[in-house]
Symmetry: C2
Subunit: 291 residues, 2 copies
DNA sequence: TCATTCATGTGAGAAATAATAACAGATGGC
DNA sequence: GCCATCTGTTATTATTTCTCACATGAATGA
């Protein structure tokens, strides 16, 4: 058992080592980002704790006494060891890849398009992506996850990026076959849906003043990514978050003639590994600007 | 230049090392004389500073993570070095003799008689005595000095032991030759005095309602010790602090038929070397009981 | 010599940090 | 299931540390 309780004030000792290194209380204070008074006081405290005078005046400055020399020579390497050890730990943490979990559709249609600017802005951030099925909870071993969450509660570890906006979408080819003159077109068609978001169509219908019961539900898919493939293949009208199909709209593969409505869900980053919080917040801040 | 400012909270690190050593937060808290909550919090802070988790739950207790192991193995020797270095310094300070300066008369007639009980009560206190002439300021290199001081001001570094009481004294042999029936005897005799305390006789006279001018001043001596030798030799009446001649009175060598009066002076211990303050205060506390 | 500059020392009050007490949650033994 | 043990968390209190402002003492240069 080490006699940790017989240690003097370690902050005072740190101040002393700084003074010994700089040969001056004022310089040490500058190095430690405090006033010279604070350092002077700390030295006094340490001297009292050790019952020894460590510094003596010399001209306008100070110099170490013999006891001070001895203390410095013993403690300086110890502090260096500690500083290096901690620095090493931080370094290792920096080099460890940040594991981000998200669904396949979010990965393919939201995150991957943002990767180039991301890697450009944070070239030293090693990012490792893992997918979880849309209906699974984000995996435990990930440092952070990206997902749509209903009514996210305020929480330091939950960072909302943008509100979900959903709407019906269909392939451009399919649209040309149909007579799209109003909302009325919707009920007549087979509505593709996902098992992970069964409320998507009813929610959207309510938002648009359409009785949910009047909808003709068509094929269901296990995940959004399959549904979107089906929509692209012209199998019917799907419903999807605007965020995930923006590129398809811009490139004319899909159409969204009925627009989008905001839901209670938000696209959120969830922090799982608190020790990576700083890096995650840096990453998230950047993602927010890219949204 | 060492990166002292990149060090984490050293108290948190100390707490962590304690936890690593004990393998338990509660035990570490006990060792550090704080509650487990305090230690738990410190560990959390350290983990945040290092962006690393250091502990993980294991059953009801905790165990170190790999990062924690690494940190502990690096820092534990550093803390041991620091603790040992400080302990060594304290030890050296303990073994260094305490240098006490006082006048020859105080040394011979006040301090030396008290040395046996002193050494019995504090056998491990190495005491080195140096004399300074009565009229010199206590020497700078002494850790403390013992002297009579006029009107001592309240000060942490000045410890009054007892008020000075002075009075005329003469050798028993001389007293037998004289007719000592009252204060009236005084003016008729040659009054021995010291150059270091020229006011002693006038002060005493005023306290006793005798006109100072009516005194017959005799031989002067450079220091009290010589004066006392002269008094013992029957050369005349001297004036001296009661404290310094108590033994002579008790053993019948000297008489003080006119009694003693208190003066404004106190026998004081003055602390010169603040770093020895604790030991000096222990010594002084003991001296006060022996007075 | 005297003002000036530079470095340290000191005190009161403000700011930051750490500790406590009390409770919550989790685990393992009975 | 119940109890004892250990860790985590929070609001509050206590302590430490810092700052600011001024004082002191030593070298510097007119």
């Amino acid at each position: 058992m080490n006699d940790l309780h017989r240690l003097p004030s370690l902050n005072a000792l740190k101040a002393f080592v700084a003074v010994a290194e700089q040969g001056s209380i004022s310089m040490a204070a500058q190095q430690l980002h405090v006033t010279h008074g604070a350092v002077s006081r700390q030295i006094k405290l340490l001297e009292e704790e050790l019952n020894t005078s460590l510094l003596e005046k010399q001209g306008r400055g100070i110099k170490l006494t013999d006891a001070g020399q001895q203390l410095y020579q013993n403690c300086q390497p110890a502090f260096r060891t500690i500083a290096e050890s901690c620095q090493q730990l931080r370094q290792q943490q920096q080099e460890k890849p940040l594991v981000l979990a998200c669904s396949g559709s979010l990965l393919a249609r939201w995150l991957i398009p943002r990767l180039p600017p991301l890697q450009q802005a944070l070239p030293d951030l090693p990012l490792q992506l893992v997918t979880s099925a849309d209906d699974e909870r984000p995996q435990q071993q990930a440092d952070l996850s990206l997902s749509f969450m209903n009514n996210p509660v305020a929480d330091e570890l939950l960072i909302p990026l943008e509100q979900e906006r959903i709407g019906p979408v269909l392939a451009t080819a399919l649209a040309q076959q149909l007579d799209l003159d109003s909302n009325k077109a919707i009920p007549q068609l087979p509505l593709l849906h996902t098992l992970s978001r069964p409320q998507a169509w009813p929610d959207w219908a309510r938002h648009n003043g359409i009785p949910p019961d009047s909808l003709h539900m068509g094929q269901g898919f296990p995940h959004l990514s399959y549904l979107l493939e089906a929509v692209l293949a012209g199998l019917g009208i799907g419903i999807a978050p605007e965020q995930l199909i923006r590129a398809d709209l811009e490139q004319g593969r899909l159409l969204a003639p009925w627009g989008f409505v905001s839901t209670d869900a938000w696209l959120c980053v969830q922090i799982h590994n608190i020790s990576q919080r700083q890096r995650i917040e840096k990453l998230t801040g950047l993602l927010a600007t890219l949204s």
